[in-house]
Subunit: 137 residues, 4 copies
Amino acid sequence: MLLNLDPRSHIPIWEQLVNQVKELILKEVILPGEKLPSVRELSSVLLINPNTVSKAYQELERQEIIETLRGKGTFVSQTIIPKADEQKIEALRQALKQLVIESSYLGIEKEYFIQWVEQYTKELGGRSNVAESSSDS
Amino acid sequence: MLLNLDPRSHIPIWEQLVNQVKELILKEVILPGEKLPSVRELSSVLLINPNTVSKAYQELERQEIIETLRGKGTFVSQTIIPKADEQKIEALRQALKQLVIESSYLGIEKEYFIQWVEQYTKELGGRSNVAESSSDS
Amino acid sequence: MLLNLDPRSHIPIWEQLVNQVKELILKEVILPGEKLPSVRELSSVLLINPNTVSKAYQELERQEIIETLRGKGTFVSQTIIPKADEQKIEALRQALKQLVIESSYLGIEKEYFIQWVEQYTKELGGRSNVAESSSDS
Amino acid sequence: MLLNLDPRSHIPIWEQLVNQVKELILKEVILPGEKLPSVRELSSVLLINPNTVSKAYQELERQEIIETLRGKGTFVSQTIIPKADEQKIEALRQALKQLVIESSYLGIEKEYFIQWVEQYTKELGGRSNVAESSSDS
DNA sequence: GTGGTCTAGACCACG
DNA sequence: GTGGTCTAGACCACA
C-alpha cells in the first residue's frame, strides 16, 4: 500500500485517499476481493485520524468500489461496474476543458497533453475501459 | 462578457471567474489591452460580492494575465507569455491523471477522452499553444 | 430452509435470520412444533459465526416464536399469539411513515405502494392476520 | 422547525435529521428555496454536535434535496425531482415486505395497515407523488 | 477484532 | 457569517 498523502494539498486527505485507492485498484496493486487495511491500522500507518480514513472508506463504499462486511473489514468489490453517470461525465468534461485551458497558459502543446493521456491509460493497465477500446494497433 | 457562474458548484466563484476570463482571452473574445469592467461594475452585474470579483482579479494579476493601472482600471496584458512553471505542470499532470482514472470508472473510452481534448483545443482557436503544435504560424 | 443472507446488507446478519425465519413460519414452510437446526449445524451450513445464529435464536425466543427445550433443541412454538405491543406498533407506524416518505422521493405512486402491500400479504398466505381481516376463520 | 430527535433510537441522529427534514419538505413546512438553520445554530438548538448536523446536511445535499451555497448557508432545492433509483426501490420493497411480516406478528389487519398508508400520504399533502396519482375520488 | 457514531474543539476557505 | 476538514478520544453493535 504505497499511499502518499500531502497534508498541504488543497484536496482533502480523505479525497486523496479515495483517489489513490481507485488508482491502485485500476493498476491491480489491490485486487478484487482483497481486504483493505482496517481503519485503525491505516490511520496509524498514515499518521492520520481514524475518522479521516473512515470517511474515505465510506465514500469508496458509496461509489460501490469497496464493500464493508460488518465486523470483518472492508474489501474491494468483486465486480466494479463502470456506470456512466451523465452528471459526472459532464463534470469531468468541464474539468478536462479547464485543464486544456491551463495547458495553453503553461505553454504545453497538444501533442504532449495527449501523450500524457496515453501514458496514464497505459499505466492503468490494459484492463480499464479507458486503456483500450481498439483491438490492436 | 458572457460569464455564467454557478453558485451551486463546488468550485469557488472567484475561481470560476478566473477560469472563464482565461478562456475568453484564449478565444479572443477579450483582446489584449482591452479594459475589463471595474470590480464594482462586474460584481453588481453578476450579483456577487465585490470581494469575490476582487479576489479573482488579484489572482489573474498574479498570473500576469491582467494588469491594474492605478486609477485607470484593469486591462488584459498585451503579452501573455506561456511560462512553463514546473510545479504547475506537475500539478496539471496529476489532475490529468486523476481525470483518466475517473474516466475509467465512468466507462469512458480513451478515444472519446482524446477526442474531447481535440475538440476543446479547437474551440480555443488556433492561437493557443495547445491548439497548434504545427511548426509555423 | 431456504435462507439467503446478504453479508453486504446493512441489516445485521442475525436480524436477517430472524426476519427470514419469521417469514418462513408465516408461509408455513416451517410448521409449529417443527425442530429447527442446531446453532452449530445452521452456522456451518450458512458459513457464518455460531454466535450470530445464537443471537438470532435468542431474539426469536424472546419474541416467543421459538422455544428451546434443554438438550432437545429449538422448536417453533405451537401457538404464536399475535401480541399487540403498543410500543412495537408505534415503531412500525413510524417505519411505515418513513417508507411512505421515501416512496414520494423515489416517485412511487400510492397505488403501487398499496399494491405491493396486497401482494406481500397474499404471499404470506391466508393464515396471517394481515392477510385476512375477514371476520371469521 | 419542529425536530424531535431520540438519542436512544438505534437510528443515528444524523439519519433522523435527514428523515425529518425530508418529511418537513414534503409537508411544505419548509419551502423550496428556503434557508435552513446554519449548522452551528441547529446544533446548539438541538444540543448535538455540529459535526452531526453537518453529516445530515451533507447527506441531504448528496440526495439533491438541499443545496449549499458556500459562505451563505444551505437551502432547500428549488426543484426536487423524484428519481426512480431501481436499487433504492428494491430496498424499499424489501423493507415494506418486512413491515407486513411484522404486522402479522403484531396482529395488525391489512385494512389498518393500508389505512395508515392512506393517512400518511394525506399528511404529506396532495403534492407528493405518493399522495395522489388518481385525479379525484 | 471490525466499522459506525458521536462529542469536543480547532482551523480553514469562501463570500 | 457560512460550511468543510481534521484531530482526539470515547462508546457501541457486529461477528
